[in-house]
C-alpha cells in the first residue's frame, strides 16, 4: 500500500503532503511564538520600569548576521540539489549546520554571562521573558540542527533511491529554518534594541 502524493503533487491542490504538513506546522509555531510575544507586550505594559542595555547588542547583531547567512546557505543547499550538484549541496548543508552551531555557542556565552552575575530568569520579568523566548528559540535551532545532521548523515542515502523526495525533504527543512530565522529577526530588536 502506498500513500499518494508523498513525492508527486496532487493536481488540484498543487501540493505534496509534506509541503502542506510543514506549512501547517509553521502556522502552529506562529501561534506559539505569537502567544509568547503577546506575553512580552502585556508584561512590559504592566511593568513600572523596563531595563535597558542589559544585553550585548554586538553579540546579538553578530548572531543575527550568522542566522541570516545560514538561511542563505540553506537555500543554496536546496538549489544545488535542484541543479543536481551533490558536492555543493553537502558543502552548503554542513555550512548551515556549522553556522547554527556558532549561533548556539554565542548564545551560551551570553547566558553564562548573566548566570555568572547571579541574574537568571528569576531575577526580573525582563530576564524571565528573555530566557524563555531565546531558550525556546534555541531549542528550535537545536531541532533544526538534528534534522540537518540526519540529512547529512543516515538520511543522505535517500538521494540515491529517490532524488526528488530527498530534495523535497531539504526544502521542507529549509522552510522550517527560515521560520526559525524569522523568529530571531523579531526577537533581536524586541529584546536587544527596544
Amino acid at each position: 500500500m502506498n500513500i499518494p502524493y508523498t513525492v508527486e503533487t496532487r493536481p488540484d491542490t498543487g501540493l505534496t503532503n509534506g509541503k502542506l504538513g510543514i506549512w501547517l506546522f509553521l502556522a502552529s509555531e506562529v501561534m506559539l511564538f505569537g502567544a509568547l510575544f503577546s506575553t512580552y507586550i502585556i508584561l512590559r505594559n504592566g511593568a513600572e520600569e523596563w531595563p535597558h542595555g542589559e544585553l550585548s547588542v554586538p553579540l546579538g547583531a553578530i548572531n543575527t548576521v550568522i542566522l541570516i547567512s545560514s538561511s542563505v546557505t540553506m537555500v543554496m543547499a536546496w538549489a544545488s540539489l535542484k541543479l543536481n550538484d551533490w558536492a555543493k549541496h553537502r558543502l552548503y548543508l554542513i555550512a548551515t549546520f556549522l553556522l547554527a552551531g556558532v549561533f548556539l555557542v554565542n548564545k551560551y556565552f551570553e547566558y553564562s554571562d548573566h548566570l555568572a552575575k547571579g541574574e537568571g530568569p528569576w531575577h526580573s520579568t525582563f530576564l524571565a521573558i528573555y530566557f524563555t523566548l531565546t531558550g525556546l528559540h534555541g531549542l528550535h535551532i537545536l531541532g533544526g540542527m538534528i534534522v540537518m545532521a540526519y540529512l547529512a548523515g543516515p538520511g543522505a542515502k535517500l538521494w540515491k533511491a529517490n532524488a526528488e523526495q530527498f530534495t523535497n525533504r531539504v526544502e521542507y527543512t529549509g522552510l522550517y529554518w527560515h521560520f526559525v530565522d524569522l523568529v530571531w529577526i523579531f526577537l533581536f530588536p524586541v529584546l536587544y534594541l527596544l
Partner: protein, 593 residues
C-alpha cells in the same frame, strides 16, 4: 515531515529480503496491534484508551459526589483504600477533594472526550469516508497516539507523588496553581497531550486536503469530515498558546520566574520571595484562548457523528447540508474571538466585556442553525429507532439545553450573578455529557460493525440508553436550581457552610444517587461492548444501508482499506431518491448507463 510508506521498509529479521520485492510482509504482534501505523488500529487504540479514561474520570466524580451528598461521612467500599494522605478513616480530606475535581475536568476533556472524538472517530472513520488508504503520515499518527499515552500516564502517576495530583481546577488559575502541590506533573502531562494534538491535527488536515478519492469534491464530503476538518484547525491554532502558557507556568514553578505572580504576594502571612511584577490574568487569557475553541473541539465531532446517524436513520438527506457546512466553518473562525466571556469577573473593563459578549451572541447563531437543520431533518421521516439513533436523537434536546443555558452566561450582566455557581457546571455539562458523550456513544454503536464485523446488541443498547438518559438528567438538571439559588462550585462540603444554600442542599443527595445509578447503567454498555466483539451478529459491508464511502470497504477493512480504488459519483446523503430501486444510493455506486 515526510513519510516513507511501509513498503520497502523490511521488518526486522527480514533484512535479507530484497527491499523492492512486492511481498506482503507479515508483521509481528507488536507492530500489528501495539506500535501499529494503520489508522484503524490507532483509531481503536485512541477510542479504547479514551473510553477507559472517561470511566476513570467518571469514577473520580462518583467519589466526589459521596462527599457532596454526605459531607464528612466515610466513603463506603473504597474509602479504606485511599490512604491516610487522602482520606484518613475513609473521610475525604479537602486537598484530596480538590485533586479529584481538578483531575476529573482534565481527564474528561483532554484524555477522554477529545481522544475518543478526534483521535478515535477521526482516525478510524475519516480516512475511510474520504476513500484514503491511510492517513497522510502514518508514523506521525502513531507518534501522536503514544504522546497522548505518555501524557495520560504522567497524569495518572501524578496521583502517586508526594502531595498528590494537581488541585487548582482544570483551569489551573495562578497564583494558586503557581504555588500549589502537584501542578508540575500536570504541566508536563499537558505538554505531552498538546504535542499529541498538534501532530494529530496536522495529519487530519493534510489527509482531508490531499487524500480525497476521485470525485469527492468539498461539497460531497460527509458532514462528519467537515466537522473533523474544522476541529483540526482549532486544535492546530488554539493549542500552541496553551503550550506557551504551560511553559511559562512551568518556568514559574521550576525556575522561579514570576510571569503570573504579582508583586507583594503574601501566602499564609509570609511574603512570597519572588521578583513579582507578573500578571495572573495573563494566564486566563492564554488559557481561554485555547479553552474556548476547545469547547468546539468537544462538540463539533459529536455534531458530525449525530449528522451521519440522523441521515442514515431518517432515510432522508440532511436538511440544509450547505448551511451546515458554512455554519461549522463560521463557528471555527468565531471560536477564536469569544474567549474573554469566561473573564467578565476579572475587571477587564466594560469595553472588553461589550466586545466579547457581542461575539458570543454571534457565535450562537451558527450553533442554532446546525441544531435547527438537524431537527428539521427529522420532519416527515419514517425514523428507524436503532440504538445509535436513540443517542443521536437525545443529543438534540440535550445540546439544546446546554446551548440555551449558555446565553445568560455570555452576557456580562447576568454572568456576574451566575459566575462560578453550579449553574455554570450544569450548562457546560449539558453540552459535553448528555450532549457530546451521547453523540460519541451513538458513534460507537454506529461504527462498531465496521470496526469489528459484528453488531452490538440492541436490547442492551436500549437499556443503556434509557437508564443513562434518566440518570444523567437527574444529575445535571438540579444544578441549574442550585446555581440560581447561589450555590458555588468547588465546595468541599457541598455548600453546607453557607446558610443561603440550605434550601437546595437536598439536591446533592439526589445527584449523588443518580450519579451512582449512571455508573451502574454503563455496565450495560461495557458488557455489550465485550460480548459483541465475540458473539455479536455478524454483518456484511453495509449493515445500516448507508451511503458514505466507509461502507464500501469490508467489515473490518484490511490494510489499505479498499479492495478497489474508490470513486465517488454523488453527494453524501442520497437517501430515498425518487425513482431509485432502493431507499439509499451510495456515493460509490456508479451512474446507470
Amino acid at each position: 515531515m515526510d513519510n516513507v510508506s511501509t513498503h520497502g521498509t523490511p521488518a526486522p529479521g527480514h533484512l535479507h529480503e530484497h527491499p523492492h520485492e512486492h511481498v506482503h510482509e507479515e508483521l509481528g504482534f507488536w507492530r500489528l496491534y501495539v506500535f501499529s501505523v494503520d489508522h484503524k488500529v490507532i483509531g481503536i487504540q485512541y477510542a479504547v484508551t479514551g473510553l477507559l479514561f472517561l470511566l476513570f474520570g467518571f469514577t473520580l466524580m462518583m467519589i466526589m459526589r459521596w462527599q457532596l451528598a454526605y459531607p464528612g461521612r466515610p466513603i463506603p467500599l473504597i474509602g479504606q483504600w485511599l490512604g491516610q494522605a487522602r482520606a484518613p478513616g475513609g473521610i475525604m480530606l479537602p486537598e484530596f477533594y480538590n485533586q479529584l475535581g481538578a483531575m476529573h475536568g482534565t481527564i474528561m476533556v483532554f484524555m477522554g472526550v477529545v481522544p475518543l472524538a478526534v483521535g478515535g472517530f477521526g482516525n478510524f472513520v475519516l480516512p475511510l469516508q474520504i476513500g484514503a488508504p491511510d492517513m497522510a503520515f502514518p508514523k506521525l499518527n502513531m507518534a501522536s497516539y503514544w504522546a497522548y499515552f505518555l501524557g495520560g500516564v504522567t497524569m495518572l502517576a501524578s496521583f502517586l507523588q508526594r502531595g498528590g495530583a494537581a488541585q487548582s481546577g482544570w483551569t489551573s488559575y495562578p497564583p494558586l496553581a503557581d504555588i500549589a502541590d502537584g501542578q508540575t506533573m500536570w504541566l508536563i502531562g499537558m505538554v505531552f497531550l498538546i504535542t499529541s494534538s498538534l501532530l494529530g491535527s496536522i495529519n487530519f488536515i493534510v489527509t482531508t486536503v490531499q487524500l480525497r478519492a476521485k470525485g469527492l469534491s468539498w461539497m460531497r464530503l460527509p458532514f462528519f469530515v467537515w466537522a473533523q476538518f474544522v476541529t483540526s484547525f482549532l486544535l492546530l491554532l488554539a493549542f500552541p498558546p496553551l503550550e506557551a502558557a504551560a511553559v511559562l507556568q512551568l518556568m514559574d514553578r521550576v525556575v522561579g520566574t514570576s510571569f503570573f505572580l504579582p508583586s507583594g504576594l503574601v501566602i499564609s502571612g509570609r511574603p512570597l520571595q519572588v521578583a513579582g511584577q507578573g500578571n495572573p490574568v495573563l494566564w486566563q487569557h492564554l488559557f481561554w484562548f485555547l479553552a474556548h475553541p476547545e469547547v468546539y473541539v468537544l462538540i463539533l465531532p459529536a455534531m458530525g457523528i449525530v449528522s451521519e446517524v440522523i441521515a442514515n436513520n431518517t432515510r432522508k438527506p440532511l436538511w440544509g447540508y450547505r448551511a451546515l457546512v458554512y455554519s461549522v466553518v463560521f463557528i471555527g473562525f468565531m471560536s477564536f474571538v469569544v474567549w474573554a466571556h469566561h473573564m467578565f469577573m476579572t475587571g477587564m473593563g466594560t469595553t472588553m466585556s461589550a466586545f466579547f459578549q457581542t461575539t458570543t451572541m454571534i457565535i450562537s447563531i451558527p450553533s442554532v442553525v446546525i441544531l435547527t437543520a438537524l431537527l428539521l431533518s427529522l420532519w416527515g421521516a419514517s425514523i428507524r429507532f436503532t440504538t445509535p439513533m436513540l443517542f443521536a436523537l437525545a443529543f438534540l434536546p440535550m445540546f439544546g439545553i446546554g446551548g440555551l443555558t449558555g446565553l445568560p452566561l455570555g452576557l456580562a450582566p447576568s454572568d456576574i450573578h451566575l459566575h462560578d455557581t453550579y449553574y455554570v457546571i450544569g450548562h457546560f455539562h449539558y453540552v459535553v455529557a448528555p450532549g457530546t458523550i451521547f453523540g460519541l456513544f451513538a458513534g460507537v454503536y454506529y461504527w462498531f460493525p465496521k470496526a469489528t464485523g459484528r453488531k452490538m446488541n440492541d436490547l442492551l443498547g436500549h437499556l443503556h440508553f434509557w437508564t443513562s438518559f434518566v440518570f444523567i438528567n437527574m444529575v445535571f438538571m438540579p444544578m441549574f436550581i442550585e446555581g440560581l439559588a447561589g450555590m458555588n462550585r468547588r465546595m468541599y462540603d457541598g455548600g453546607q457552610q453557607y446558610p443561603h444554600n440550605a434550601a437546595v442542599l437536598h439536591w446533592n443527595v439526589v445527584q449523588g444517587w443518580a450519579s451512582w445509578g449512571l455508573g451502574l447503567a454503563q455496565l450495560f454498555f461495557i458488557v455489550n461492548f465485550f460480548m459483541s466483539i465475540k458473539w455479536g451478529k455478524a454483518v456484511d459491508r453495509n449493515p445500516w444501508e448507508a451511503t458514505t464511502l466507509e461502507w464500501s470497504a469490508p467489515s473490518p477493512p484490511g490494510h489499505g482499506n479498499f479492495l478497489t480504488e474508490p470513486i465517488v459519483y454523488r453527494g453524501p446523503y442520497e437517501y430515498s431518491v425518487p425513482g431509485a430501486a432502493r431507499d439509499f444510493t451510495p456515493q460509490f455506486e456508479p451512474e446507470k448507463a
